[in-house]
Assembly symmetry: D2
């Protein structure tokens, strides 16, 4: 059972280090390919304009000067002789709830595993400066072990969010759907030391659709949220109405 690990906080991030240590309990065949630096917010971006470099940082740990998607892509298209059996991404420093998923490099690393039809898990620890990586690591071990023993369909991507609590303080696990955030906050206008204008992307919006059943709701209850994610972006129930609409063109 070869596990391929990645993340978006970079190959030296404490979250990834905790994940590597924990999953070593399950498998003696771990390989980690992660960005050489923080690539949060990278989404599914692929580097097509330039070649990538792969650096062996330590035994079983490789860094790439690219995105999380680049890392998993290379690792599953020929970087290694042996194929992986599952992709595990994280432990992200901060939540990936609701709309965050669209921008998340952590989730993107997991979804990239789909190109092999591999089961994939993304694990995030909530909070701006989360501390309980050991909690998230224990959750990761449980989820991955269960996924090995009781597989879900091959195209399953699990998005796991863990409250930043001691393991004993968690209130169990919940299968959820993604909630929604309000529209992002206003951009932040500032000027650099030379007086020229600069703009920061504003903070993510607050919770909008965060009722029972959503990931937001689960974690607010102290539960670990587990959301099955898909990557088919077709809005299937709109195809026929668009079909009628198209007649007018």
């Amino acid at each position: 059972m070869r596990l391929l690990l990645s993340n978006d906080d970079g190959c030296h991030a404490p979250g990834l280090t905790a994940l590597r240590a924990a999953l070593a309990e399950i498998s003696d065949d771990l390989v980690t390919v992660a960005p050489d630096r923080n690539r949060s917010g990278a989404s599914n971006s692929l580097t097509l304009e330039r070649p990538l470099r792969v650096n062996r940082v330590a035994e079983g740990l490789y860094s790439v000067d690219g995105t999380p998607t680049d890392c998993v892509h290379l690792a599953t298209t020929g970087l290694f002789e042996q194929d992986a059996d599952m992709v595990v991404s994280g432990i992200n420093h901060g939540a990936n709830l609701g709309d965050d998923v669209l921008y998340s490099g952590t989730v993107a690393a997991a979804t990239e595993g789909r190109s092999l039809g591999l089961p994939a898990v993304a694990i995030s620890l909530m909070g701006e400066n989360p501390r309980h990586f050991d909690t998230a690591a224990r959750v990761a071990v449980s989820v991955v072990r269960l996924l090995i023993d009781h597989p879900l369909p091959n195209d399953t991507i699990l998005n796991v969010n863990v409250p930043d609590l001691a393991f004993e303080e968690l209130d169990g696990f919940a299968a959820t759907r993604l909630g929604n955030r309000h529209r992002a906050e206003r951009l932040i206008e500032d000027s650099d030391p030379r007086g020229r204008p600069i703009f920061w992307i504003g903070r993510a919006g607050g919770e909008a659709d965060a009722g029972p059943g959503t990931d937001f709701h689960a974690v607010a209850q102290g539960k670990v949220s587990i959301t099955p994610i898909q990557i088919d972006l077709t809005q299937h129930n709109a195809v026929s109405s668009v079909g009628e609409w198209v007649q007018r063109l």
Copy 2:
């Protein structure tokens, strides 16, 4: 009717120039905010680690040193006093079919319009070196005009792919679902002039699910493919089975 335009090939790309010229027929209130350079493959990546700079290139044309998502995000969170009514992204140099959509910066610019609940359209012209931007521009005008006169639900994102043909050679329009590609081709290993190894991301896989009803099929017939896209990544039909599975944890 304020139209917000963007793309991922950069603010000076011929595809964007053609789109701006064509949509000027429809609205006298166009504003374009596009990356300052080619950002193909950027997906929904957001720049959170550094501030962005906005440069006024010409009347109504602004460049940003960021991703397509950054461009639309800034444009809809305070860069301008007036809100936009619709987002149009493109004309992309090359197709965005099937799995491409996940990585596409062009589609990401359109989906970012959702933060305002805006209707949004992404338009791509097929081919490695496409020539018929005038065809795609006419298609864009038709689609946007129809969308103004006969609105679709607010969260609708249309992904439009146009064969690289003269307008008269097109065989109409088809509402489609996204097809699928085969797994990507193997990475390409090479060495730089100093003898050190480098890796290129391999080419996208060939068509796998490309039967009737798919975008691949439509364009192969010479039709313009129009796919309604969603951004809810929850795999809804798996939530309950994952709910049972979670009981074992």
Copy 3:
């Protein structure tokens, strides 16, 4: 007489546009290779880790996704069949006086011309938001024309700084040495919108050695400053004392 033009403010910068227009008076064989975006402060940095792309922006105008040094390097090592006879870099938006020269991409583009033994000129227009590009362009024409008619030794690099005044208000030309600035100002500590610390490089220090004979002094008098620059970094008068010192090792 083929003139190779470059700059560090990017291929669309008004300063470069003014320079191209003005030098067209002197030569009908201008070729411009400039960074695709602002690369101020790039110094002599060369891009060795990745390949570069060259884009033909317009007739005789090429952009490179690299540094000013990359641009001149490519242009003089095989990008064109014909060799250039002189390198002209600018018009920089802002002064390049004293210690600035060490960091300047504009000056670096000129010094890179040395690899061919070409005469080279860097031209900068003073001020944070300089306006009199026409003045600097006229100066450029005069200097380049004189350099053609009355060549200086081949390894000569001229660093020209032009006060931001109408041409008639200039008080002539002065050959100068580089002055010195005081130590740079303190770094500027700030935090990003997510509360994490960021640091900006502080402003350049004020003038320290700015007496008669220096570039600082000349421009303060309303003169165009012309400083001959070398690229031999050996501190020749220290070699023998270091030779004695080394005996102790």
Copy 4:
């Protein structure tokens, strides 16, 4: 005696690790501020367009998402309460001989120390894949120790190149001037996997001025080359002739 260390190969490079370990023999007050990744060829480039982030990697070891010059600049303009007494940069993976110095990030880190009037040393180990970091580290200790006991003038920057040999195989030390390389080799034209042209900067030229007295000559003899470097780029002996030339303008 506070020693400030940096390099251009990145904070995790073996050369820097060897230097840190060796200099700990001399001083118990070492602080290292280095780029978060390989920034070879960065020259004196300064990052002015965006803010920098500083990350504490380990006790006394900080990484910056910028250039070597950025690292030393921040470290000497307020990042720490205490000022440094000397800057040591390296151990570079590869030689910095002759014209290389102009492009070198390693040397630039040392020269940036001048803003404080600090003595500064750049140390490079020759070869494409150098092995004898212990040799270069011993050389570094000797040079730094001698510089402490027998200071050279404050503006002294020493550029040290060490042959990739066992320490016992070295044939002593030589004070040298910088030699010269031939013009760089032709650019290397290639195409990416999508068939579009790319260009690599060609290899550095061979040795041109490499006779007795030069750094090239010393290292070819198996000696450690030590070159005193200056940062005054004025070509002083040309100022008066340019003064006459300028009269014609």
